[in-house]
């Protein structure tokens, strides 16, 4: 069981900044994210896109913002459960919550802050009528362990970086790799596209374009796929394979949080914005793009503000009756949990003779 003061669901900008604000109040945080890395939408969807409305940064790349936020909060030693989705929440007799992920990891905290942005990112599944029946029986939407595909016949579908990169990587491991894409052009990095071309020329990647996978073959286990080539729209090709891996990116869904008994409005969690961004369940907060209230603006800078107020309120739940006076970092400095201390230089007082 992982125990912490504030359990933050979502490791995007808002969740990461909440770690810093909580740290100033000597509160420890642990974050859960369905993605395998920190940064949320910023690192998953547009790491190379510039953002222009972060205070004091006339321009910053979304990926760099994530990096800076990680740098800022690391002194408060946050814990991370990445690549797992928060699934269930149970209130305990002592008022704390136990949050369990889809992989069974349990976390306990007196305060839960949902900073889930648009929700957890789930793989976008192609519209093939019987595909659900073959999930984990030969159809996988993510590659977790490349060795799993050693000496297997693998078909990858998609035209982005994931499809290209995994096709290249698995061409050394699998007995055969087929890459299927709806167009002849690919959306990925030029280097990756050129590498795929090279491997195709060497006969290490079987490239089928422009084409689409339209069916799955097999009984209890995947045996092959059905492909339709654009220029032979009336003709279908059957291709034998052990694994079919559609890589069409990720789509955000509110997911299991929607069943936690929280008041939801327009796919977002209603909060008390007049006070502290607490939800209808005391002890559970929602901050950033995942919440809604009159006048809500889905901006990163608003998420930062909400995270700050959430931490002040969480402090009272975690330390009931204890008084806390807001201190400025310019005055009080920053004491990291890792033993570091940052403070502004003290003025030299010169004695007047």
């Amino acid at each position: 069981m992982i125990k912490t003061d504030i359990l933050i669901i979502g490791a995007g900008p808002t969740g990461l900044f909440a770690v810093f604000e909580a740290g100033l109040l000597k509160l420890k945080c642990h974050l859960i994210d369905a993605l395998p890395q920190q940064g949320g939408q910023c690192s998953e969807l547009y790491p190379k896109k510039p953002i222009y409305d972060i205070p004091a940064y006339p321009e910053i790349l979304a990926g760099d913002l994530t990096h800076k936020l990680m740098e800022q909060c690391k002194q408060f030693e946050p814990g991370f459960t990445l690549g797992e989705r928060a699934e269930t929440i149970e209130k305990q007799e002592d008022g704390s919550f136990i949050v369990t992920t889809n992989k069974g990891t349990k976390h306990q905290a007196p305060v839960v802050a949902i900073a889930g942005g648009l929700g957890s990112f789930e793989p976008r599944k192609p519209l093939i009528h019987n595909i659900a029946a073959f999930e984990d029986k030969g159809v996988e939407y993510m590659i977790k362990e490349p060795e799993f595909y050693r000496d297997k016949k693998v078909v990858i579908a998609g035209g982005g970086d994931s499809a290209l990169d995994w096709s290249i990587f698995l061409s050394d491991i699998a007995s055969s790799v087929t890459l299927i894409h709806r167009r002849n052009e690919f959306r990925g990095h030029l280097d990756s596209v050129e590498k795929v071309q090279e491997l195709k020329n060497e006969g290490k990647i079987n490239l089928i374009t422009p084409a689409e996978v339209v069916g799955i073959l097999g009984d209890k286990k995947l045996k092959g796929i059905v492909v339709k080539k654009a220029e032979h729209i009336e003709k279908e090709i059957e291709l034998e394979c052990d694994h079919f891996i559609p890589l069409f990116g990720l789509s955000p869904k509110l997911g299991p949080i929607a069943n936690w008994g929280l008041e939801i409005e327009k796919n977002a969690i209603k909060v008390n914005n007049a006070l502290d961004y607490q939800t209808n369940i005391p002890g559970i907060y929602a901050i950033g793009d995942v919440n809604t209230y009159p006048g809500k603006l889905k901006l990163i800078l608003c998420g930062f503000h909400e995270a700050t107020l959430m931490c002040q309120s969480a402090y009272q739940i975690i330390n009931p009756g204890k008084r806390y006076v807001l201190k400025y970092t310019t005055v009080a400095g920053v004491d990291g949990f890792d033993g570091t201390r940052k403070e502004s230089p003290k003025a030299v007082v010169k004695k007047i003779e």
Partner: protein, 110 residues
């Protein structure tokens, strides 16, 4: 209100809405759909309008002349689902007076 144009948007439930779209507010079609709340929040314009998610895909039903498709849009549509010959990304269609009478249908959510 002379900057406003009349457009028809069919939502994902098949209901057609006649809306006034401003052309002087640097709005794109996805933002028009959002401003009139014709698709639930969180189901359209997820990436913020950067042609990176296809959640604002729509089918253009009228003969209205639209800006030419750029590489980003074409690449995204090549990976999206439910794509038809008349598919476009709403976030890449900036509202201009020349689009008076535009008719579109929102593609299914995927």
């Amino acid at each position: 209100m002379e900057q406003d144009i009349n457009i028809k948007i069919t939502d994902r439930d098949g209901v057609t809405h006649e809306v006034l779209a401003p052309t002087d507010m640097a709005m794109n079609l996805m933002e028009v759909v959002r401003s009139y709340e014709l698709a639930p929040e969180g189901t359209i314009g997820i990436c913020g309008g950067m042609a990176m998610c296809a959640s604002c895909q729509c089918y253009v039903l009228s003969e209205t002349e639209l800006p030419e498709m750029q590489d980003d849009e074409e690449a995204m549509l090549s990976e999206a689902f439910n794509v038809k010959d008349n598919s476009r990304l709403g976030c890449q269609i900036q509202m201009t007076p020349a689009m008076e009478g535009l008719e579109v249908e929102l593609a299914p959510e995927s």
